[in-house]
């Protein structure tokens, strides 16, 4: 009997405390001026911010709605408001694809920190966007058929190597990287046969032995080597007056092109 009474009393105390607490909160809320941080929605919205915006977007840091739309998230139209007419970007061949991409957030991730550039190229996303753009309601349209063919192509065939996905191989590398070809088109135009999309270097690649004499198969001499300059200066300085232009190994060493055998570091120009 005593115990029950005591318990009841205890609960009443809790209730009083709860009610008093809520009243205090309401009073406090009413007393604070409306311009205080306590009453700004941004103060509360900031609690969910996963990281600072990049330096360039700092002016938007207190305006979540500038980019975010409820449910739909960051819509492309909100990016285009400011980023529509970047002429230098649209005119450069490697970046011209921005004109028709109409999808931003796949590669431009924000809230990574003030010192981070909000750009991370994602070729897989690019391929996805491309396929999506070809999609259409009408199953008879040429785009739709092309899309089906591409999908059939990349899902039926294995990727040329493990560092690239078969979806990425639906992209046409040259559309952006035409000027990046160091092989003077000698290896064809299908970069993806050897290269991956994250970096140009190929981990499996092993340079032939330093004792190899077939340098000229891959390396081309500078233009001056095909002029009088070669016989008159280069060959003479190296002490190999009879060396041919395609016999790189006669004068050059693998440490550096300028490390000339028997002569030492030599840079004419």
């Amino acid at each position: 009997m005593m115990k029950a009474k005591k318990k009841k009393k205890k609960w009443t105390l809790t209730r009083i405390l709860l009610i008093a607490g809520s009243i205090c909160f309401v009073v406090l809320w009413m007393m604070t001026p409306s311009e205080s941080a306590f009453k700004q929605s941004i103060t509360w919205q900031k609690m969910t911010e996963p990281g600072s915006l990049s330096a360039a977007h700092q002016q938007l840091k207190n305006n979540c709605a500038a980019c975010h739309t409820p449910v739909q998230g960051v819509k492309t139209s909100n990016c285009i408001v400011c980023h529509a007419n970047n002429e230098s970007l649209l005119q450069r061949q490697p970046t011209a694809f921005h004109a028709s991409i109409s999808s931003c957030v796949e590669c431009h991730l924000e809230h990574q920190g003030i010192d981070k550039r909000p750009t991370k190229m994602d070729h897989e996303a690019l391929a996805t966007i491309g396929l999506r753009q070809l999609n259409s309601e009408s199953k008879e349209s040429e785009n739709y058929i092309l899309r089906e063919e591409l999908i059939a192509h990349f899902s039926d065939r294995a990727a040329p190597h493990a560092r690239i996905t078969s979806k990425e191989t639906t992209l046409n590398c040259l559309a952006c990287h035409a000027n990046d070809d160091r092989h003077l088109k000698l290896f064809g135009q299908d970069c993806a046969q050897c290269h991956a999309t994250d970096k140009w270097t190929i981990p499996e690649y092993r340079h032939p032995s330093a004792a190899s004499m077939d340098c000229a198969q891959c390396h081309q001499a500078p233009p001056s080597h095909y002029m009088k300059h070669f016989k008159m200066i280069s060959a003479r300085v190296a002490g190999k007056p009879h060396a041919r232009v395609d016999q790189c190994f006669q004068c050059h060493q693998t440490t550096s092109w300028n490390d000339i055998l028997g002569t030492g570091w030599y840079k004419h120009h």
């Binding site: 919205q45 900031k46 609690m47 969910t48 911010e49 996963p50 990281g51 979540c64 975010h68 739309t69 409820p70 449910v71 739909q72 998230g73 960051v74 819509k75 492309t76 109409s102 999808s103 931003c104 957030v105 796949e106 991730l109 809230h111 996303a125 996805t128 396929l131 999506r132 999609n135 009408s138 199953k139 008879e140 349209s141 040429e142 739709y144 058929i145 089906e148 999908i151 059939a152 899902s155």
Partner: protein, 545 residues
């Protein structure tokens, strides 16, 4: 049963802590917002709501008897425990170890605290109580023995004198070092029931130890005694934060849900394989097979009509044009065996939904248009133009004269709503011909899927090399006179400006014309032929031919 539950739940709590601590080694900031991350979060949140059932049933008096009729409190508690630990594990996986925002971090902390406080309450508190109970019964036994020994010693006061020198505090603490029990008989087992100062001392020491242990345990128990209240309050805070978190996700956008709304997000790869299998079932469907066969039949018969009644170019109204023998075509009408009737019949077997796009459909619709125009002229033959009042009251293009499948189509529908909409190819407007003198010349072949590209090139080239209706150059006045077709569908060519039209014409015309255009490009004046709607009928050929 309970032992097993404890082992399983302990394992799960340890697993949860390991999952949480994974953030030291791994972070996947994009995972939480991805489809599978979202699914984990959702199912975790739903599981985390299950424990509420126990709380509610336990505390609402009228509900309890009604629910326990079906589900015992024990079962509800089991649900409470298992859902209360599995939910947080899923939710921690959902985080992808991204603990960046204040809300996110607080939410994670609260989840961990709620689970751990529940675990302590259920299993460790229990331990304290049992241990205190065990210790208390031991204490009772010892106290009883002590009383016995004390009684015996009262009966033999001379034995007790050994203790007399140790009455001070220091003496009490060191007594056990000096007092030896029966020193002459040390080999025998010590019998505690035999009264001796030594036993007395040992018993009192044990009692003190156990009393101390009980006290410590009780302090702990008191300390943890408030755990239930703590557990409930923290849970309520957790639910509030969870609601805020879900609100934030909706307010700032759910990445994996957007594909269903807009084109800015990923389609999942399953959708793509889905369309592939759809394509396969489309290809194999009977409608597709029937339509393909019907298209082939139509092409065969229309091709025959075309070849049979096509004639080399003549001059009509001063315009050089290839022609047809419309009188000959008109004779076929009414004969069910004729190519004409069979072509019409074949068209009724085609289901336009199953043409499948591409060159096949493109060629089909162009042929349909040309057949339709030919049909309108032949049915009312003799006429001198497709605009003849016998055919229509002024607008033959809008007359729904062609039956395909179950639908009636007009020429304008075929051209504007199907061909130009589906196939972005300006050459189409040259290929669809309304049986007029000013329309492009034809060879004796209809369009076919295999050759359509070359055929379209040829037809445009043919017209823009024909100086009587396609492209005529006035060298003196520096004018180019172009076909009215280019003017009528201006917007299809280049940017729709005069320059766009000249570019188009320049590309398709003869070398000679092209050179002249290039040489005079700056000051060319553009003019257009008047379109002659006269029927391209061999019977109308100018007499001097």
């Amino acid at each position: 049963m309970k032992e097993r539950e404890r082992a399983v739940v302990t394992g799960l709590v340890v697993l949860m802590l390991i999952v949480w601590l994974g953030f030291v080694f791994h972070q996947s900031p994009r995972f939480a917002g991805s489809f599978w991350g979202g699914m984990l979060g959702l199912s975790g949140a739903v599981l985390m709501l299950v424990p509420l059932a126990y709380l509610i049933v336990k505390r609402i008096k009228w509900l309890k008897p009604r629910v326990t009729k079906y589900v015992s409190m024990r079962t509800l508690l089991a649900w409470h425990i298992y859902a209360g630990i599995l939910g947080p594990i899923l939710v921690l996986l959902h985080t992808g170890h991204k603990f960046n925002s204040l809300l996110g971090m607080t939410l994670t902390t609260m989840t961990l605290i709620v689970v751990i406080s529940g675990f302590i309450g259920r299993y460790l508190m229990n331990r304290f109580s049992t241990e205190i109970r065990e210790k208390k019964s031991l204490l009772k036994k010892l106290q009883f023995e002590y009383q016995q020994v004390a009684d015996q010693l009262v009966g033999a006061p001379q034995v007790g004198t050994v203790l007399l020198p140790f009455r001070g505090i220091l003496g009490q603490l060191t007594a056990s070092f000096f007092i030896r029990d029966f020193p002459d008989d040390a080999t025998g087992p010590v019998n505690v029931t035999v009264a001796s100062p030594y036993t007395m001392l040992r018993l009192s020491e044990s009692i003190a130890d156990i009393e101390y242990a009980i006290k410590t345990h009780e302090t702990f128990k008191k300390w943890f005694g408030k755990w239930l209240k703590f557990h409930i309050i923290v849970s309520v805070i957790l639910y509030l934060l969870m609601a805020l978190h879900i609100w934030a996700a909706i307010h700032f956008g759910i990445r994996w849900i957007t594909p269903f709304y807009s084109s800015t997000s990923y389609y999942s790869s399953t959708l793509e394989t889905g369309t592939k299998s759809q394509l396969r079932s489309f290809e194999n469907s009977p409608q597709r097979q029937n339509s393909l066969a019907a298209v082939e039949k139509f092409s065969l018969h229309f091709g025959k009509i075309f070849k049979q009644h096509w004639r080399e170019s003549v001059v009509i109204h001063g315009i050089r044009t290839t022609v047809f023998d419309y009188a000959g075509i008109a004779k076929e009408i009414g004969n069910p065996e004729s190519n004409y009737s069979q072509a019409i019949q074949a068209l009724q077997q085609v289901d336009p939904e199953y043409l499948g796009g591409g060159n096949l459909e493109k060629a089909f619709w162009i042929n349909v248009y040309n057949f339709g125009a030919m049909k309108m002229a032949s049915e009312k033959y003799p006429v001198t133009s497709i605009t003849d009042p016998k055919i229509s009251d002024g607008n033959p293009w809008k007359k729904k004269e062609i039956r395909i499948g179950n639908g009636q189509y007009s020429l304008v529908q075929v051209e504007k709503e199907i061909l130009l909409k589906k196939f972005d190819d300006p050459r189409i407007v040259f290929a669809v011909s309304c049986a007029a003198v000013s329309c492009p010349d034809r060879t004796d072949e209809i369009f076919s899927a295999e050759k359509i590209d070359q055929q379209l090139e040829d037809i445009v080239k043919g017209l823009l090399s024909n100086s009587t209706k396609g492209l005529a150059i006035g060298k003196q006045q520096k004018t180019i006179m172009l076909t009215w077709i280019l003017k009528a569908d201006k917007r299809l060519f280049g940017d729709g400006s005069d320059d766009g039209l000249i570019d188009f014409a320049r590309y398709y015309t003869t070398d000679e014309n092209r050179n002249w255009i290039d040489a005079n490009r700056g000051d060319i004046k553009l003019e257009f032929f008047k379109h002659d709607w006269g029927l391209n009928d061999i019977a109308l050929a100018d007499k001097e031919n």
